[in-house]
């Protein structure tokens, strides 16, 4: 598995491309997942996700995948589980301080990120791991969260009448943006009148 993991980091740009498609598909499937119930699809999706990602990345199923921010090198393979590495103990040649036979996960991550289009995401400070998510599907979480945000964005852009009368959505031009405030009204407010 270690060799495949190294291969995945070398091909980080390919896996970035593939993941973007997987993510888009998962987001598109959100209505289906919601209909069946996210809690019902959790177990089978997690099983598939675990199988694929264990082979490719030595995935530890932390439930909050950050591979696209870490050059496709899974940070949970770092013995210190650093999310913003590397630490200061990397051995000459880029080997791990704790497991000298393994390449430093974070040294690989920076190299992998340099080959990716969105590689600059490695510069963002990632939050500490939420240990309560361990074992859950990260794909489903992304699908739920991104689809939710998309819905919110769409909702915000609907006309006032469509927001006021949910039933009117089918017939109203629901996707039209909200009308701007009339200029006179804005100016009047600005004068404090």
């Amino acid at each position: 598995m270690y060799r495949i993991r190294l291969f995945a980091v070398r091909q980080s740009s390919v896996f970035e491309w593939i993941y973007a498609r997987v993510e888009r598909t998962m987001v598109a499937l959100d209505p289906v997942f919601r209909k069946i119930g996210y809690n019902r699809v959790e177990a089978p999706v997690a099983l598939v996700e675990r199988a694929i990602k264990t082979v490719l990345f030595d995935c530890k199923m932390c439930g909050q995948c950050v591979l696209s921010s870490t050059g496709m090198s899974c940070p949970m393979n770092c013995p210190k589980e650093l999310r913003n590495g590397p630490c200061g103990g990397v051995r000459p040649g880029g080997y791990c301080e704790v497991k000298p036979e393994m390449k430093c996960v974070w040294s690989l991550a920076w190299d992998g990120a340099a080959r990716m289009k969105g590689g600059d995401k490695i510069r963002e400070v990632l939050p500490p791991v939420d240990r309560s998510l361990k074992g859950s599907s990260s794909w489903l979480r992304v699908s739920r969260e991104k689809a939710g945000k998309l819905r919110e964005a769409r909702e915000a852009a609907r006309t006032a009448v469509a927001q006021a009368f949910p039933e009117a959505r089918a017939i109203e031009p629901a996707s039209a943006p909200l009308a701007d405030e009339p200029e006179q009204a804005v100016n009047r407010d600005a004068r404090g009148a």
Partner: protein, 328 residues
């Protein structure tokens, strides 16, 4: 189709002006060349052992670092040493390693340390447990050094725990982090430093610098990225005891790089102890000439008695003398 941006909102910039009552912060902001020194923690419950160890460092150091089980070996705790020394009038740097405590313990300790008068904190990942005297211990690593930095910044500047619960009196601390410029991946180290600054680091204490050309290249990148304007960098130095000790350190202590040329020089010396001290003084003087370096951090493990001589002979204090308070 409606869309949303995936970009992360920027974390609020650090507050203007001084963030703490730290002497180290005052010295650095005044543009003076700062000196910090690492204290060898006692394996004892006697406070006088701490005071004895601090005494030679306090003569020259703007702050004394209390290590947190460095090398994963048990000693008196950093918070205990910091509390004792702060009360005795010393300025201390409280070190937190992520190896031994989870986020609940750490956030509590930060408040406790601040309540006892600690004004500087150094956020570290920590060496793995395998190199220490308790290799069977459970490594915690709940945070890493960056999430720790950001957490303490949140406690200080937003006045709340990570949970969002309010802190009635936030800890006023000057935030530090470590960097290891001469260790692999050398090319990415400046980028990693940028990330630490982004997370909240206001000063940096580096690991030992024995390889000046590598450190110069690192600092050149740091200056290109404008980081020297955003963070105070204190370069780590220390006297080598002998060629044998240097070799042992290089292969047994994580994150230490000593060039072969230096070891050869130690081998040829008649008095290795004096040669180690001389090398250390030379390194300090060379480091001082590098633009963007704000001070030195002296780590003289078991050679604490040499610290004050090394600093005074290097001339970096420019005749600056301590008044009133011991060691700051």
């Amino acid at each position: 189709m409606a869309d949303y941006t995936d970009t992360v909102p920027l974390y609020a910039p650090p507050p203007e002006g001084h963030v703490s009552h730290s002497r180290l912060e005052r010295v650095l902001r005044a543009g003076r060349f700062a000196v910090t020194a690492e204290l060898n923690p006692p394996d004892s419950a006697d406070p006088s052992d701490v005071f004895d160890a601090a005494q030679p460092l306090g003569e020259v150091a703007d702050a004394i670092n209390a290590t947190d089980a460095s090398g994963a070996n048990c000693h008196m705790s950093s918070i205990g040493i910091s509390a004792l020394l702060t009360r005795a009038g010393y300025s201390t740097v409280y070190q937190i390693s992520c190896r031994d405590r989870n986020r609940i313990a750490i956030q509590g300790d930060v408040l406790g340390a601040a309540a006892m008068g600690v004004t500087n904190v150094l956020c570290l990942t920590g060496d793995g447990v395998g190199v220490g005297d308790q290799p069977g211990a459970k490594p915690v690593f709940d945070f890493d050094s960056l999430t720790l930095l950001r957490t303490i910044r949140t406690m200080r500047d937003q006045g709340m725990f990570l949970s969002g619960r309010k802190i009635t009196r936030p800890p006023q601390m000057f935030l530090g982090a470590a960097e290891n410029p001469c260790i692999h991946p050398v090319d990415w180290r400046p980028d990693r430093l940028a990330k630490k600054v982004e997370a909240g680091a206001e000063f940096i204490q580096t690991n030992y610098i024995y390889d000046i050309p590598v450190f110069e290249r690192f600092m050149a990148r740091v200056r290109d990225m404008g980081l020297d304007k955003r963070v105070y960098i204190l370069a780590g130095v220390g006297p080598l005891a002998s060629a044998k000790a240097a070799r042992w350190m290089r292969s047994n202590v994580p994150g230490i790089h000593v060039p072969d040329a230096l070891i050869e020089r130690m081998e040829k010396a008649d008095k290795p102890g004096a040669e180690g001290k001389k090398i250390c003084i030379e390194l300090i003087q060379q480091i001082r000439e590098i633009a963007g370096v704000s001070g030195v951090h002296v780590m003289a493990y078991r050679r604490e008695h040499q610290v004050s001589e090394i600093i005074l002979e290097s001339g970096v204090l420019d005749g600056r003398v301590k008044r009133g308070r011991k060691g700051g």
